[in-house]
């Protein structure tokens, strides 16, 4: 690990100013991804500003009926929160599908959003990777790409975003509150993560030094009828091959409201806008679910080792919608 200075932030504005002023500074949250990357040589910050003791650890109701989640709220606490469990079950389930009990006790809401891909080539500093070292090439395109993207990838990068929580938040239309040198801005979560394009080194639209301070959940009635399903290589404690976050309201046999996002398919949590459009107002039938999934996956471009993800995503979405229509998981 490269040497670094450590400072404990007591004021968010000062922390933002400190990191903004230092190109090689980074915020430290739970550390479950960053500290690992520092050990692997993937990240080499010269200054860590620890933001875990800032006052961002509350889950609070908003005047509009939504919920504000502080960026420092630990994943385990957010998953266990009674309001989240009853009004946004998809979020609780997604959190509980991720990592292990020990890691969820450390990982923060803000840090979870900013965790980086688990692409094995990205984490191996001895091989080329455009995300880690722009212009060096992508080892995964011709390599072992079983875990990689089938939607929205580029010639530069085929990595997938690893977060479960973020998939649920994208389905819920959450808003990310960010503090920068110019003050606060609000980013719809669907716009936070990027597709790789020609700059895969940038996972998100955040500028260096910007700090996530909270995530806001809208008062979304359909979210009470939501669930998360994750397909993985072992029953627990593994990253997703494919995951689906969905919320569904069926009235008189027709889809009244629906939200869908996929994990494991792309460089960002994938909001399934085409599938949603196909389903709104449609009969709540297996045929509608299949057509919606196929509409969303029509542009999928499987690689040598991951073609299985396309039917897996279709089947998982159909199954989850069927379960939600029948009254939930």
């Amino acid at each position: 690990m490269s040497p670094f200075d450590y400072e404990r932030a007591t004021d968010a504005g000062a922390a933002v100013a400190r990191v903004s002023a230092q190109p090689h500074a980074a915020f430290l949250g739970g550390g479950t991804n960053l500290v690992d990357h520092m050990r692997l040589g993937v990240a080499r910050p010269e200054l860590l500003v620890d933001v875990t003791r800032l006052p961002f650890s509350k889950i609070e109701p908003l005047p509009d009926g939504g919920v504000r989640v502080g960026a420092g709220v630990r994943n385990s606490d957010l998953a266990a929160d009674r309001t989240i469990r009853s009004r946004y079950p998809v979020l609780s389930q997604a959190l509980l599908a991720g990592a292990s009990g020990q890691l969820r006790n450390l990982a923060t809401t803000g840090g979870n959003l900013l965790q980086r891909t688990r692409c094995a080539y990205f984490q191996d500093v001895t091989v080329p990777c455009n995300k880690r070292k722009p212009g060096s090439g992508c080892s995964a395109i011709e390599g072992c790409n079983r875990d990689h993207a089938v939607l929205g990838a580029s010639e530069q990068c085929i990595a997938v975003h690893p977060s479960d929580m973020a998939v649920a938040l994208v389905a819920l239309d959450a808003v990310v509150i960010v503090l920068g040198r110019q003050g606060e801005r609000r980013i719809p979560i669907g716009d936070l993560h990027r597709l790789p394009g020609d700059s895969p080194e940038r996972d998100t639209v955040l500028e260096h030094g910007e700090l996530i301070t909270a995530v806001e959940l809208p008062p979304l009635p359909v979210a009470a009828h939501s669930a998360y399903y994750k397909v993985r290589d072992r029953a627990s404690y593994a990253f997703a091959l494919v995951s689906v976050a969905a919320a569904l309201q069926v009235t008189n046999g027709r889809v009244q409201e629906v939200r869908i996002a996929f994990g494991g398919l792309a460089h960002k949590p994938w909001r399934a806008a085409r599938a949603e459009a196909s389903l709104r107002g449609a009969a709540a039938t297996e045929e509608s679910y299949r057509r919606a999934a196929e509409a969303e996956l029509a542009d999928a471009k499987p690689l040598k080792h991951n073609a299985f993800k396309v039917p897996m995503a279709r089947n998982t979405l159909q199954m989850l919608l069927r379960q939600l229509a029948a009254g939930g998981r």
């Binding site: 450590y6 050990r39 292990s100 020990q102 029953a235 404690y237």
Partner: protein, 172 residues
């Protein structure tokens, strides 16, 4: 870069000077000689280094010691009270819930932390309904303990030990 920190480890106040790069695991093992927390993968994937940090189970290999200044840490060595093993420790012995034993201190700390979480009503991914209090079936125990790998494969007896500890009041 050097830093000075204080930790309360297994009931004892300890002050130490260390490099900021030192993980909590290395601080415990290499600086304080507390070797109950084991180094397995050193990447947060195996759970052998699990301790209770301010009462919650965490892996120590991914925490920087400097960020834990002021924390209270309980390792498997500190679980016994007045010479009597913690019910979870006793259950591991009674059920032969280990072979080589390397993962055992982490398994035990994880089980103790997990039972506290269940007592507080925290759900797991396999909890149905998500609103009731946690009732720990074998499926629940397996899911909640999935962050602790045992390469000897003593899982069957580990589940039995945790189940037995619950029946003997480890959660009450």
């Amino acid at each position: 870069m050097k830093a000075s920190i204080t930790l309360r480890v297994d009931g004892e106040q300890r002050s130490l000077q260390l490099d900021t790069r030192t993980t909590l695991l290395d601080a415990l093992r290499e600086h304080l000689g507390v070797t109950a927390a084991k180094k397995g993968c050193d990447h947060g994937q195996c759970g052998a280094c699990t301790v209770l940090l301010d009462g919650r189970r965490v892996t120590t290999c991914l925490s920087l010691a400097v960020a834990c200044d002021g924390a209270t840490i309980l390792t498997a060595e500190g679980l016994a009270r007045d010479g009597t093993l913690h019910p979870v420790q006793q259950a591991f012995l009674d059920h032969d819930a280990l072979q080589c034993g390397y993962c055992t201190p982490g398994q035990i700390c994880s089980a103790v932390g997990m039972l506290e979480e269940a007592k507080a009503g925290h759900p797991s991914f396999v909890t149905t309904g998500l609103t009731g209090a946690a009732d720990l079936s074998d499926e629940e125990i397996r899911e909640r303990m999935s962050g602790n790998l045992c390469r000897c494969g003593a899982y069957v007896n580990i589940v039995a030990a945790v189940r037995d500890a619950i029946s003997k009041g480890a959660m009450s």
